[in-house]
Symmetry: C2
């Protein structure tokens, strides 16, 4: 029964999500792990453990797809720049193919999101799609003329590190830049905005929640914003407006049919997207601004995992993925 | 002898350049016109006159290519957004095919630059190229996976209107945006920077030139910078650094093999490119920053005209251009 199963793994800056996916693209076993603070060896070990756990439960697995938040050098298969995870300078796919003894495909995590949303999600049928995943950082994915676009040697689509404020604040993690979209519109930026706002207005639902000992996180902000707290709403609106500047750039650069917003922060839904759309409509050029749809990702937290699984299935089907493929030696 | 000639026309915000191009891609007759301040009817008339002048001199012409600084809607053939020229909301190609009674191909002017530089210029042989033309405004062109990328309906590649300063100054012409790359790194921005600098330091070569009645223009600034004037050099360096932020974004988004800088401002050469490269190397992500070449366009002011001619030749050869094609009714 498990024959033909693949595993999709989505690695983020704070957590890992993995699942076995059948031929109907149903996820039949899931596992997740916190990865924040691990060093490279510990992280590789934890990823292998998560895969082994699923394999032990599901049985035979034919291929595995990884979405990881890195740029690559497709000429060497090396993960080159990893802003929020310690995977720099290793041939991750080769390592995993040997360690797990099965065919492996590795792609940027946001590219995996893009594969999922453009094949079976909100952008299904569209040929030109730009995607941003708003989590700890901001990932980017591109579908251009119907193909995932990864850049000359797979180092592209890093739209989270597009400068929108040339004299802005330093970006986070290993990014050497400042004023990146990630520094003003990520989950980290949301928490920063909310902490500044609640310090000015402590006698609010958000202020009371913090007094009660709750941690200031994106999910808390979203929960209270949805319940009507003006401080939490204001923080999301600030992030949404900054996101709108990023979307303006995507519209002017790509004239996409659909801009998809995914990642944890999209839990805020229209509280985030409405100000983003408003800014984009005010600032972007025609005809791009008038024809683009700006939509929440359909698959939520599992989009990257499912996209990685779709790429693994492509490998099984002998299709060209354009991502990094390795087979066990 | 003239059989098989095509005409290439490059329309900028201030001037028009047109030439007849033979099968060896030699330009055998050139003409240019100032177009600044013309209304739509006057501009269309002037373009038709320029073409007629060349036709009268060269003889039989088989097709004509236009590069114009607009976004388009490929579904209707209409010029939609024209930041620096009054060509909004007309089906320019259809109009010209009828008026001139020959096959016409119309593309964005910077796309034409890109066709020229990637086929026979500095980016020859590269598959992934991002191009910026720095003139009155900033145009953008993209070659991705070996194909000119124009966006879903031909409204893309407007990298001059990528926001790099989200709370920056208003952009120019018909652009509704502010803090665009065009507002900090175009020829207009260069003149603005130099005028601010010379007001602070009037006792310099640039200050003396203005006292002698010379007009403050990009070419004057470049001339004096090349001769060593520190104020003129400083203004070019400021623009070069801002350009470097734009190139950083192109590297992170596209991971291009080559970034080509064209347009009038590139006459400043390394005075402009050296600070731009330095900023990009400091701010962009690996591996993109380490593999990209940042180069001056080879064809200078004629690149757009020649690229438009190359597209016209594609039409004659029955090749798919991806641009807007019209035949006389």
């Amino acid at each position: 029964m498990a024959e033909g199963y693949v595993i999709g793994v989505d690695l983020g800056g704070t957590k890992l999500l993995a699942g076995a996916i059948d031929a109907d693209l149903s996820v039949i076993h899931r596992t997740n792990r916190l990865v924040y603070g691990l060093n490279q060896d510990e992280l590789v070990q934890m990823i292998a453990d998560a895969v082994d756990e699923i394999r032990a439960s599901v049985g035979e697995i034919s291929a595995i797809g990884f979405g990881i938040p890195c740029t690559f050098d497709s000429r060497t298969g090396m993960a080159v720049q990893a802003v929020n995870v310690p995977l720099k300078d290793i041939a991750f796919g080769e390592l995993m193919a040997d360690r797990l003894n099965m065919p492996v495909v590795v792609d940027n995590d946001a590219n995996c999101h893009t594969v999922c949303e453009s094949r079976i999600g909100i952008a299904q049928g569209a040929t030109d799609v730009a995607l941003l995943t708003l989590g700890t950082g901001i990932g980017g994915g591109l579908l251009l003329n119907g193909q995932v676009y990864r850049g000359w040697i797979m180092g592209g689509a890093e739209m989270g590190h597009m400068v929108v404020e040339m004299n802005g604040r330093p970006c986070q993690g290993n990014c050497p830049n400042w004023g990146c979209l990630e520094s003003v519109a990520s989950g980290s930026a949301l928490v920063r905005e909310a902490s500044l706002a609640v310090a000015r207005q402590p006698d609010t639902a958000l202020g009371h929640a913090l007094e009660e000992g709750r941690e200031l996180t994106g999910p808390l902000i979203t929960e209270l914003a949805t319940a009507g707290d003006p401080v939490a709403r204001g923080a999301i609106e600030t992030i949404g407006s900054a996101l709108g500047v990023g979307i303006t750039n995507l519209v002017n650069i790509f004239n996409p049919q659909v801009v998809v917003i995914g990642g944890g922060v999209i839990a805020a839904g229209e509280l985030l997207l409405a100000p983003a759309r408003e800014v984009m409509l005010e600032r972007a050029l025609a005809p791009g601004k008038d024809v683009v749809r700006v939509e929440a990702a359909r698959f939520g937290p599992e989009a990257g995992m499912i996209g990685a699984g779709l790429l693994a299935r492509d490998v099984l089907d002998g299709k060209t993925t354009g991502a990094i493929e390795n087979h066990p030696r």
